[in-house]
């Protein structure tokens, strides 16, 4: 890639920092060039987030239908799988899977709910109501 060809499309990172790319100058020697982003990878990132949003919306609907507990919603919202959540809370995976059932979730102690709230960086009240404060 030649220095002049380093893409300069404004991506999400470009608003905060430019990134270093390696490219060749007119004599073919490698140098670095700052880039504000590339449309192709911005679109790849968009696809990833669209997938996340679809999963979050799906999880939310399931909770509203009484098919899952708010833990599922926050797992999707925080991009976690049972493994990551297990590491953050200290609960075994099979227990987390049980806590995904609304009837089991309702009976959880305040202490267990607090663990989930901490892992999701939210409060117990917001956990129960699926309230998120971040844009």
């Amino acid at each position: 890639m030649k220095k002049e060809q380093v893409p300069q499309d404004l991506g999400p990172l470009g608003k905060i920092t430019k990134e270093v790319c390696y490219a060749t100058d007119s004599s073919g020697k490698y140098t670095t060039q700052l880039s504000t982003g590339w449309e192709v990878k911005k679109e790849a990132l968009d696809v990833a987030w669209q997938d996340v949003e679809a999963r979050v919306a799906n999880a939310k609907q399931k909770v509203l239908n009484g098919e899952a507990s708010p833990v599922l919603f926050f797992m999707e919202y925080r991009l976690m799988d049972a493994g990551i959540l297990s590491d953050y809370t200290g609960f075994w995976r099979w227990r987390i899977k049980r806590h995904l059932k609304p009837e089991v979730f309702k009976k959880l102690s305040e202490k267990k709910l607090q663990k989930y709230a901490d892992a999701f960086n939210t409060s117990v009240a917001d956990l129960k109501t699926m309230t998120v404060h971040e844009a």
């Binding site: 890639m1 999400p12 905060i16 920092t17 270093v20 390696y22 490698y30 590339w38 192709v40």
Partner: protein, 336 residues
């Protein structure tokens, strides 16, 4: 407290951290491409059964931590690396390090990294940064992918040092042990060692999933993604491939351009003419990865989508595999 430390932006976090931590003892000679190449950073791996963020697990670089370790080893520098189970001990060790005047490399997770744009925050735990001071409750951070220095409160730093999930950093800090000045002869030998290491890693690694064979294997798999996964999911998988290849920290072209830069710099120390020609092959490989990415974008944005388009996508990777195989074979044949 603020140590005498100069922030330098780089393309890739670990090779950038390595270069920065060795700057004083090498007089700035260990540049980012040299650290990447000596650390044998170039790789490819596709692990079919594991999923990351509900997509394929693909890596274009070597396992986290190896670049720093190999670069130091090749230069004969001892590595100090500590992991912690206690958050208090982790912070105490970091402070102690700073009090001794030693900037500390830290492995962190990016999900809760406050200065990163939200779009980039996935549960990725192998990011690297350098802590070089503390003022009140704020740690001074040199994050190699950022243009300028940043700060994290002690709580924020603790949270990213103890991020959970795959490759959990466990508060890890690392830095080079006692270093005398690094001589040009040492660098020359380290370059040769790094190249040999990388040749083995790409050509001789057993199994189908890794090295140049892994690239061709992935190419063959991609041709079947459309039927197997359906158009939408196949598109998401391709988007994940492109993200691993081009996202922040790769220097573009799945690290192939950094490697090409390394070979050029390697020529200055070894005077092997072949390195300059082989460097061009890696530039070509990087360009071809990028062409493939543009094609992939056509698929995940819905402009393309026929089986022929997937076949073409797979063929790009098979072509890359061929190209990189020849490049590494040429490196292997050099008489040092």
């Amino acid at each position: 407290m603020k140590l005498d430390f100069e922030h330098q932006q780089s393309a890739h976090c670990e090779s950038g951290v390595t270069s920065s931590l060795l700057r004083k003892s090498s007089g700035g000679k260990i540049t980012e491409p040299l650290a990447f190449g000596i650390g044998a950073g170039l790789f490819f791996c596709y692990i079919p059964l594991i999923k990351i963020n509900n997509g394929p697990a693909i890596a274009f670089r070597t396992f986290p931590g190896l670049i720093f370790k190999r670069t130091c080893n090749a230069l004969g520098i001892p590595v100090v690396r500590q992991k912690f189970s206690s958050k208090e001990k982790a912070e105490a060790a970091l402070m102690q390090c700073l009090e001794h005047g030693q900037p500390a490399g830290c492995q962190v997770g990016v999900y809760y990294l406050s200065y990163f744009p939200r779009e980039y925050r996935f549960h990725f735990n192998a990011h690297n940064l350098i802590v070089f001071g503390k003022e009140d409750d704020q740690y001074l951070i040199s994050d190699p992918v950022m243009e300028t220095v940043t700060q994290l409160s002690s709580y924020e730093l603790e949270r990213v040092r103890f991020a959970k999930g795959a490759l959990a950093p466990k508060g890890q800090i690392y830095y080079p042990g006692d270093v005398a000045t690094i001589s040009d002869e040492q660098i020359r030998k380290a370059i040769i060692k790094g190249i040999k290491n990388n040749v083995n890693q790409m050509l001789r690694i057993p199994g189908n999933f890794a090295g140049v064979k892994g690239i061709a294997y992935t190419g063959k798999k991609i041709k079947r993604w459309r039927d197997k996964l359906g158009l939408q999911k196949a598109g998401s998988y391709l988007a994940q491939l492109v993200r691993m290849q081009e996202e922040i920290g790769t220097g573009g072209g799945g690290f192939r351009y950094i490697y090409a830069a390394f070979l050029q710099e390697g020529f200055a120390y070894t005077h092997q003419e072949e390195l300059l020609d082989i460097s061009k092959l890696f530039t070509e490989a990087g360009d071809l990865w990028r062409t493939a990415a543009v094609h992939a974008a056509g698929i995940y944005k819905g402009r393309l989508g026929s089986q022929a388009d997937f076949d073409q996508m797979g063929d790009y990777l098979i072509q890359v595999a061929d190209l990189e195989k020849n490049a590494f074979l040429a490196l292997k044949q050099i008489k040092w």
